[in-house]
Symmetry: C2
Subunit: 548 residues, 2 copies
């Protein structure tokens, strides 16, 4: 019904939400602001803008056109930042290639995304050399090198990055196009099946950038990002756009530091010498930073750090706080682009009491604006926001992937019922504080209640006689599903089913867990199957002892 829509006078500029528009504010206000690469180089936003133009001109001269895919294999660098802008701005799609995957998986993602051109850091030349005979779409490779040294490898290159920029015009005209044009893509690897491609449009990235700035900008004090911060990512730029923060930092015009490959001593040194005040990483990287040899000398008290990708444990948060870091959790995933929640404290919660604060800083957080964040039962009805009732987290937001690339079945499953299914189980308080308790595939749905296998395992492991415990769901005609407890006793035969049930019942009596959690199916085994990295392999347990 077009008569309800606003009228546009013919000369009016309709303003599509394109990534190029993020550059207006920084180029007006921060043209002299610095962007630093390791301890190797530094330049200004004015240089960044010029190099974005040169990169677009250069890629065009190599045959890149609107709609083409260009893959990048690099550590976190100023070059990557240039690619974040130039490739989408010319209408192509930036594929951020996850170089931590196995060669077979990298090959799969490249042949699935079908990039025309690859920009490759020389460190990954051995990988490309190994794969190049099987690359189906790649017409050329452009090499990037920190030191200007290019190893002589039998790889068909069509140019070198810096040389290409030097020979290309900075005056590339970035045309307008539809804001729903694909800007980026990358692959997510679940525990099963082939990697799945997610993709994001210009509109989605611009909105995600604004929400990053709103979400991290709006707390009164704790966990805030502002225009005078110094930003450094320690989440790889190939991983969900470095959580979107390189775009946000650029739009805010702050000083930025790109650390290349993560080396604890260099990271700590950059924090110190460049005055980094805002960063983000996964828990293992934080652990690595805190335990770096000689790292204890570096004053981290001005540093704000968002932790995501995995749960921030209380012990790690406490250790970070004791080093003076303003530490807090965030939550999102590849499919969500990623930001969904941030765990920022309110003024009255900043008590200075370490344990109280750690409790709140390690929560999953509260949803950022525009996120329609629901916790639902199996019928997609909202559960109570009482901080206790678990349900699946399903979301809508303007920046979520609209499917998996060329994978209609998985796409529809992801968006079943019109909400993106995170696969996470969580609770929410009356004040919107979310806590993830489990992955939905590890939850036992029994008698209308959801039992967290993680919680039940924790309770079982508090029996002194047990050394290992795993819970899997097994089909049950009456209850739908029942927990099967697979246990390892410290001394064979020292524990019986009744004592296990009695132990869990004491927790149920205290209201810690539902009475439905008391296992009626219990089995003792000599050892639990493990994955190659030593985690309990529930997939194998399900095959051996469960229904499948």
């Amino acid at each position: 019904m077009p008569d309800f829509l606003i009228e546009h006078t013919p000369s009016a500029y309709k303003y599509p939400l394109l990534i190029k528009h993020l550059l207006h504010a920084p180029m007006t206000q921060s043209a002299d602001q610095e962007i630093v690469y390791r301890d190797l180089s530094r330049y200004t936003y004015r240089d960044l803008r010029e190099r974005i133009g040169r990169l677009a001109s250069g890629l065009t001269s190599k045959g890149v056109r609107r709609g083409d895919v260009v893959g990048v294999l690099d550590w976190d660098s100023h070059r990557y930042l240039e690619c974040y802008f130039a490739i989408p701005m010319l209408g192509a799609t930036l594929q951020t290639v996850n170089i931590r995957l196995s060669p077979e998986q990298v090959l799969f993602t490249l042949n699935h995304a079908r990039p025309k051109l690859l920009l490759v850091n020389v460190e990954f030349l051995p990988l490309i050399e190994q794969l190049q005979g099987q690359l189906e779409s790649v017409e050329g490779i452009i090499l990037m090198s920190d030191d200007g040294v290019f190893p002589n490898r039998p790889v068909k290159t069509v140019g070198q990055y810096e040389e290409m920029l030097a020979n290309s015009s900075p005056d590339f005209t970035f045309e307008d196009f539809d804001e729903n044009t694909r800007a980026t893509m990358f692959y997510t690897t679940g525990t099963t099946g082939a990697p799945k491609g997610v993709y994001f449009s210009h509109r989605q990235l611009v909105l995600h950038t604004l929400i990053d700035l709103v979400g991290f900008g709006s707390p009164a004090q704790q966990g805030r990002f502002h225009r005078e911060d110094v930003y450094m990512p320690i989440t790889p730029m190939f991983h969900v756009h470095g959580w979107g923060l390189p775009y946000a930092a650029t739009a805010a015009g702050v000083k930025q530091v790109y650390p290349g490959r993560y080396q604890p001593e260099l990271l700590l040194n950059l924090i110190k010498t460049e005055g980094v005040t805002f960063s983000h990483c996964v828990p293992t990287i934080l652990q690595m930073l805190l335990s770096a040899p000689n790292g204890g000398d570096v004053d981290l008290s001005g540093l704000k750090m968002v932790i995501g990708g995995a749960a921030l444990t209380k012990a790690l948060a406490k250790a970070a706080m004791q080093r003076g870091i303003d530490i807090f959790a965030g939550y999102g995933m590849s499919e969500s682009g990623p930001i969904l929640t941030i765990a920022q404290l309110r003024e009255h919660e900043l008590t200075g009491n370490l344990d109280e604060e750690v409790e709140l800083r390690t929560k999953t957080g509260t949803p950022v604006p525009l996120v329609d964040f629901r916790i639902v039962d199996a019928e997609m009805k909202d559960v109570a926001h009482d901080g206790r009732t678990p349900g699946e987290i399903v979301v809508r937001a303007p920046w979520l992937t609209m499917g998996y690339l060329n994978n209609p079945a998985s796409s529809e499953k992801l968006w079943e019922g019109g909400y993106l299914h995170t696969g996470d189980i969580g609770t929410m308080t009356a004040h919107g504080v979310v806590q993830i308790t489990d992955r939905i595939k590890d939850v036992i749905k029994t008698g209308g209640e959801w039992i967290s296998s993680i919680e039940l395992e924790d309770i079982l492991l508090q029996m002194p006689g047990l050394s290992e415990a795993a819970i899997i769901g097994v089909a049950d005609a009456k209850w739908g599903e029942r927990p099967l407890a697979i246990l390892v006793a410290r001394r064979a035969g020292s524990i019986d089913d009744a004592s296990v049930q009695k132990h869990v019942k004491t927790y149920a009596d205290k209201g810690v867990i539902s009475r439905f959690a008391i296992p009626d199916r219990i089995m003792f085994v000599e050892a639990l199957d493990k994955t190659s990295v030593g985690k309990i392999d529930k997939k194998v347990l399900r095959t051996k002892y469960g229904d499948g």
Copy 2:
């Protein structure tokens, strides 16, 4: 070329940017937060959400449908906030009626916007009574009253606001629709011609809300709005959506205070008793607050105030700072929805030196993100960003009016060349700091240079012998235009043309003003023509002494 666009799996939610989506975050996190109306009532966000549903149900029962216009005549109230959401959310257009206009102008705007229904505070019943015989579109009037008293007037009402809400269901289903649906409209009154209608879509208001939160949220310290502020508008809600801040404050879930009709003592009392920390107004209101009898007792040291609508003078800013107010300027206009720039200081600029800070706080400000803010010459070429070279301010942003309602000629003039013409003349520094120097209609374009009539008048008035001075542009075959100085001497005949020229030349020699500004056409008159409010009437001067 649709193959470049992202694919949407059929079940994916495409997420139109609709005003209803601004409510997700506050309803999740701030349901118990307060919204206060004068010293009369208070309720929670939960109540707000329920009343938005009731209002939509009630208006629907009165025949309001998608595409209809609903006009509101009220002071700043919780009811107005409810209308900001409910009316657009049901797909209708909210017309915020400027009740400060003359009755003839109000009539013009109502017959031009063609509202189906009016929501009218009983204080405006006399006005409606006067106009109702000539209202062409209005089918019914719903009365609003603070005290439940409804004067017996011969006005055809179809209901009372609170009664309608009480009798309507809170469970209204707000359907999705196109984000380009018109959400609001109001009229801007220039110095000439009939009021012109501007209009804004859901998409535009959502983006403006995010940018308000980014712009006011991102400074390190000075002039920032955050989630624990207490917000009170002192810019009328009928005026450019109260600068958009009621939407931003609601999306942020902060405590809000609506002051009704502006009464200095009540305003100061609300600031004190409700703990208001963030507000905004025009200079005259700030002046009124600062000079209120007994107002000196109220501690204003926690208050942040954005000043817009007219230039913030240094004297006024200084007086506000001396009362402890964190005062700073913003810039925008009805056509721009309004936000374009904010004058926030950087950390190193917060010297505590009153005069230095006042200098910066009274600037026009730096552009907020996404604004393509240009200062251009007559050929639409960018002028130098040197803080000296003036040009017209033209802008693009995703929240500007796309034209004037049913006024194609003015719409095209507004958007000539694809940029919205602000009609303001300004300069910009290398760091993006804008300073407006004049209105374009008062600028003299001579010999390729732009001379600010305001600056030249200021210089002339520093001649002790002159009591009044006005500069108008007159056509010139050689120079395009030349300044004509119309002067009033304190003592007739005491000053001659040569001494005037000599005076201006000393300023030109110092580089304060261009040599082209030295007037060669000078006339002395007995008095300058004035408007009814005592301002020099250049329109009359142009007719009497100029070309037109």
